[in-house]
């Protein structure tokens, strides 16, 4: 059992998101603790990705708040939230397809660097130094996910499983405190899924991260989660350690998703 400080990293209170007549998320209270791997599960259409989109600033909630590391981030813009330390990946991988793997990861370093217009035009020493640091940091991340050999390949030419890892590398490049992964094992074969799980465990330990993920693959959920929250129809219907959720009759009733 990993050491979770039980310090709350992310908390949503009465989070409500509506789209016209449809209430996608209803009064959600979610808590993620430092060092934890927390899973958000539920049938399709339960509102999980919407929660992610609100937490990462793509949507603004109608009601409720989102607090990150003690600060209110409700309604902030996505790039501000990344600066604060939340990074995400997408359900349908959203890389920069016509840029190289290297450039994709370098993008993650944008929010941690400062060279602006003047620096770019006049090629100051500070800018060159910063560029070097960016390249080195990007190369480290690529090595970390095993993509260093393909660093000059265009992202769209890289194999699917490795594209997933590339997206994670890009997210990690932003030096987040909380990593939010939307169905990271989707489309991966069992071997790749095992590697992914090991990878997540490793980075939690090495980089003192917290991870929140949406998953349909029960092996992943049971295998690495410290805490599971279950949603259905926009509401939270259960939460607790994985074993407890597995046997919860409400959850079973709400269709737990495919047991692979």
């Amino acid at each position: 059992m990993p050491e979770t400080g039980r310090e709350t990293v992310l908390e949503t209170r009465e989070l409500t998101k509506r789209f016209g007549g449809l209430t996608a998320v209803e009064s959600l209270d979610l808590r993620v603790h430092r060092g934890e791997i927390s899973s958000l599960i539920g049938p399709n259409g339960a509102g999980k990705t919407t929660v992610f989109n609100v937490v990462t600033g793509i949507y603004t909630p109608e009601r409720g708040t989102v607090e990150f590391q003690g600060g209110d981030i409700t309604g902030k813009k996505p790039h501000q939230i990344v600066e604060k330390g939340i990074a995400r990946t997408f359900q349908n991988i959203r890389l920069f397809p016509n840029l190289t793997c290297m450039e994709n990861v370098m993008a993650g370093l944008h929010c941690r660097t400062t060279s602006g217009l003047a620096a770019a035009l006049f090629r100051t020493g500070r800018q060159t130094e910063e560029e070097r640091r960016i390249v080195e940091a990007a190369e480290d991340r690529l090595k970390q996910v095993g993509l260093w050999e393909t660093r000059f390949e265009l992202a769209r030419n890289v194999a699917y499983g490795r594209q997933r890892m590339l997206e994670i590398a890009r997210a990690l490049a932003t030096s987040p405190r909380l990593l939010v992964l939307d169905e990271p094992s989707s489309g991966l074969n069992p071997r790749e899924t095992e590697d992914l799980m090991a990878f997540i465990r490793r980075i939690i330990r090495d980089e003192h991260l917290t991870v929140l993920l949406i998953e349909h693959d029960m092996n992943v959920v049971m295998g690495i989660s410290d805490w599971v929250t279950v949603m259905d129809g926009g509401r939270k219907i259960a939460e607790g350690p994985p074993r407890q959720i597995y046997h919860d009759p409400l959850v079973i009733e709400a269709y737990l998703g495919s047991r692979k």
């Binding site: 990705t49 989109n53 793509i58 997408f90």
Partner: protein, 303 residues
């Protein structure tokens, strides 16, 4: 009050022109995401073909079918020609470019527009041409205290009928459903059995044919036509398309009507030189307030 109503009628007349042209833009734009710059020139070509028929063949035609019959034949021939031209242009200039993406298609459309516009200039000359007055109905009508020209009534009537019919076709027939479905999601539509090529042929015959009809009407209404008219009307019609919302085909018709009315009131109450500025400003304000067009587009983006 009477003046306002007459201005409204004027505006609706112009708006019908924009709306009917906009329809052609909207269909192509919705399905192919292509700004068919050549569409305005289809309209112009139709107008010029109508001109040629009326000037050179009128004697021949009117003796057999009368004045009105002559106009009908003119419109029919012009529409038919443009239906052919439309399919041809799509085949030669657009179809080979689809795989390359949207932006190359824009350049190709510009090229097609240049070709058409300059061919018109070469064939018919750079100066204004005039529809023969003798063949155009010219009498005025009193309608409830308003003075309207027969031409206005004719145009408004035809446009109204056309728009109703087209609305019906787009919204309620299988053909229309096929077009709308392809505009929403081309791959799924073809998986559902919709023949993409047929849809293309449909929109590239209906659109240009409508444009030709509108071209003849414009020729009759303003009498003067020039080879640059495609560009002028095309821009307004494209504005109407966007105003109504991308992919919203009926919306384009309404967008055109609204644009025409706005233009007329802008010209009457602000000042004629600034009327176009007024219209564009309204467009920009509308888009700031309703980024998906007046009637909303039919496409949502899932994150």
């Amino acid at each position: 009050m009477r003046v306002v109503l007459e201005q409204l009628i004027n505006g609706l007349t112009i708006g019908s022109f924009y709306g009917l042209i906009a329809l052609g833009y909207s269909m192509v734009y919705g399905v192919l995401k292509l700004i068919n710059f050549a569409h305005g020139d289809f309209f112009a070509l139709g107008s010029y073909i109508g001109y040629t028929l009326l000037v050179f063949a009128s004697a021949f035609v009117t003796t057999r079918v009368g004045l009105w019959g002559g106009l009908v034949v003119t419109v029919a021939v012009a529409a038919l020609c443009l239906a052919v031209v439309g399919v041809l242009v799509e085949r030669v200039a657009y179809r080979p470019i689809y795989p390359a993406g949207r932006l190359p298609a824009v350049v190709s459309a510009l090229g097609a527009s240049i070709i058409l516009q300059n061919l018109i200039m070469i064939i018919w000359g750079p100066r204004y041409q005039a529809y023969p007055a003798a063949l155009i109905p010219n009498f005025k009508v009193q309608l409830g205290g308003l003075t309207l020209t027969a031409l206005q009534i004719l145009i408004l009537g035809i446009s109204l009928v056309l728009m109703v019919v087209l609305y019906f076709v787009i919204q309620r027939t299988t053909w229309g459903a096929a077009v709308r479905a392809t505009a929403l999601d081309r791959d799924t539509a073809s998986l559902m059995g919709i023949n993409f090529n047929r849809v293309i042929r449909f929109i590239f015959t209906l659109g240009p044919a409508l444009g030709a009809l509108t071209g003849v009407m414009v020729g009759m209404y303003y009498r003067q036509i020039s080879f640059t008219m495609g560009w002028n009307y095309g821009l307004k019609a494209f504005t109407a398309t966007i105003l109504g919302g991308i992919g919203n085909i009926p919306g384009a018709m309404f967008g055109g009507l609204i644009l025409g009315v706005l233009e007329m009131f802008g010209s009457a109450y602000i000042s004629t030189p600034w009327k176009d500025v007024f219209v564009f400003l309204i467009l920009i304000i509308v888009l700031i307030l309703r980024p998906n067009g007046l009637f909303g587009e039919k496409i949502a983006e899932k994150v």
